[in-house]
């Protein structure tokens, strides 16, 4: 501040200089955020507003946009395919989240028991699918599930069990998808749970030992309660991710057989980009956004409440 004043007093036209400098100074933060915000408005805010607008309209992308009020939402309520997609997505979300979190918790606790180098190695191994493209993961599993040459049928026929049509049988396709999803998500969740386990102070375990607590009692009364915020975080992020599930069912089964694996996002994509019903697709997108926004908001609230011991 002092430096600025002395300099401006030595300049030829002190008044003009300071006012320019003031404007420049006030504008600085806006200039800094502008590269982001220009893109943000053009590619986020306006598209979101346009989506919301389109959800009350009928449009194929070619013709005039026609406002139809809440007709799209009425169609949705009466659309058995929408309800099917909702049911499929809900099933995947609940089963994957419950089983996946339980498996990750067990894995994280077991890995903590291993020696240092082994646990570091295991964490990397179990983390691999989290950084591998879902396209790669899905095509590898598609081959593993392949009815003719897939590894899974090779193994089970060796045990004398009949070969299965894992992806073509309506009763097996959804479980096959779910198994792949749990496999792929295990390492990520386990890693976050590990960080949670490590933040539990050792003194609490020492105290439990002094009180003569068994391993199970220790887990039940020390680990689990103190891990609650971490577990909530894992549950909620997994729920958000699964509600928006698209690539895996699209590539593994194409949503079939008989729409048995068609998620909401997959249905939305079909409605929008195959049947060109942009209005109806936008209405589905709005409903999906509301579901995911509520889940995210819950997550944000949970994470913000700091962990206290």
């Amino acid at each position: 501040m002092a430096a600025g004043k002395t300099r401006s007093s030595t300049s030829d036209n002190p008044r003009k200089f300071t006012s320019w400098k003031r404007i420049w100074k006030a504008a600085t933060p806006y200039i800094f955020i502008s590269p982001f915000f220009v893109g943000f408005v053009a590619l986020q805010l306006l598209p979101i507003a346009f989506s919301a607008f389109l959800s009350f309209a009928e449009w194929s992308g070619m013709n005039q946009i026609q406002l139809v009020g809440i007709e799209n939402f009425v169609t949705m309520v009466n659309d058995p395919r929408f309800w099917n997609a909702l049911r499929v997505t809900f099933t995947i979300t609940v089963v994957c989240t419950a089983l996946g979190t339980a498996c990750s918790l067990a894995l994280a606790i077991l890995i903590e028991q291993a020696t240092y180098w082994l646990s570091s190695l295991l964490r990397v191994i179990f983390f691999l699918p989290s950084v591998t493209s879902v396209v790669v993961i899905t095509y590898v599993w598609k081959q593993l599930y392949n009815a003719d040459f897939g590894f899974i049928n090779t193994v089970i026929t060796q045990f004398g069990l009949p070969a299965q049509q894992w992806l073509a049988n309506p009763r097996l396709a959804l479980p096959s998808l779910i198994i792949m999803l749990i496999w792929a998500g295990l390492g990520w969740d386990a890693l976050i749970i590990t960080a949670g386990l490590r933040s539990i102070p050792d003194e609490l375990y020492d105290a439990a030992k002094v009180d003569g607590a068994s391993g199970w009692a220790e887990f039940r009364h020390v680990t689990l309660p103190l891990l609650r915020p971490t577990l909530t975080f894992v549950l909620v992020t997994s729920v958000i991710y699964l509600w928006g599930l698209f690539a895996q069912p699209q590539l593994l089964t194409g949503g079939g057989p008989m729409r048995g694996t068609q998620t909401i996002a997959l249905y939305l994509y079909d409605v929008g980009f195959r049947y060109h019903k942009f209005g109806y697709a936008s209405a589905i997108a709005i409903i999906l956004s509301i579901i995911m926004f509520i889940s995210s908001y819950a997550n944000f609230r949970v994470v913000r409440t700091d962990v206290e011991y």
């Binding site: 800094f32 591998t132 590898v140 590894f151």
Partner: protein
């Protein structure tokens, strides 16, 4: 007691080793299939009897049917993916760091409102913008272009959030000292903030790399020409080639697409883990 504990430890250790081998099976399958000649693709043995690099060779030189050669544009997919990942990383780090610096170290009118709008839209899924974005880019005649692949990925509110948290911990005294030395706001940003925020920038870079490199939905919507395919689109569409045995070369492509990511994550493990746990505990 001590003996029992040691036995338990060994038991858990061997259980974990066995399950991790089983867990890696899809990766073993991927590599094994990529090394099999066509004649062995449908065999029941997991490992190739006569390992060959022909599936990799096809990705470069195409499939040969007598005199006919059917090209796979795999090198182009790779090139496209490298270009869009590189450019979008540079752009996203620059715009996010600038904005995060303003949010962390400046007081300006509308700051909180803008920040909360940003956080609010961050919680919305890509589906909320998918159709209008597609329409916008087709209106601008940018379908099948790098611009269309890159630009939406540059808008990343999460990165601003992450960097802002970090930049707030940089003491104001350092910045004030630079001001006294006559450094303007951009100079303070470039010469002080950016170098001091390297760990957070590294974390963000790894996250964005993974996202852009592995993204599938947006390229699927905006790219129609095979020469503009990214790796994910290319691998997904190899299935469509009728009459050819693509299972082997598809796995070869999958392996080549996965390799750089795995190497990167192994090299940048520290930044990566910090970012992950920061998400869970510091947000």
């Amino acid at each position: 007691m001590e003996r029992r504990r040691r036995i338990l430890r060994w038991g858990i250790g061997s259980f974990l080793v066995l399950s991790s081998i089983l867990y890696l099976l899809p990766y073993v399958w991927m590599i094994a299939m990529s090394l099999k000649p066509d004649g062995e693709i449908y065999s029941t043995s997991l490992f190739p009897q006569n390992p060959t690099l022909i599936q990799y060779d096809r990705l470069l030189h195409g499939y040969q049917f007598g005199d006919l050669i059917l090209k796979v544009n795999f090198p182009a997919y790779y090139k496209n993916t490298i270009i869009i990942t590189g450019l979008s990383l540079v752009l996203v780090l620059f715009t996010d760091a600038l904005a995060a610096y303003a949010f962390a170290k400046f007081n300006f009118r509308g700051r909180n409102v803008l920040f909360w709008i940003m956080i609010g839209t961050m919680m919305l899924p890509i589906y909320a913008t998918l159709i209008p974005s597609f329409w916008l880019f087709s209106k601008l005649k940018l379908v099948n272009t790098y611009q269309a692949l890159i630009l939406p990925g540059v808008i990343d509110a999460y990165g601003i959030f992450l960097l802002k948290q970090y930049m707030e911990t940089v003491p104001n005294e350092i910045l004030d000292a630079a001001t006294v030395d006559g450094a303007g706001p951009f100079r303070r940003f470039w010469a002080i903030m950016v170098p001091l925020s390297r760990p957070a920038l590294g974390t963000l870079a790894v996250f964005r790399f993974l996202f852009v490199w592995n993204d599938y939905l947006w390229p699927l919507v905006i790219i129609r020409e095979e020469t503009m395919y990214t790796l994910t689109l290319g691998i997904a569409n190899m299935q469509m080639r009728q009459g050819m045995v693509v299972h082997g070369s598809q796995m070869a492509a999958a392996f080549l697409a996965t390799l750089p990511v795995v190497i990167l994550v192994l090299l940048m493990q520290r930044q990566f883990l910090r970012g992950l746990t920061a998400g869970a505990f510091k947000a």
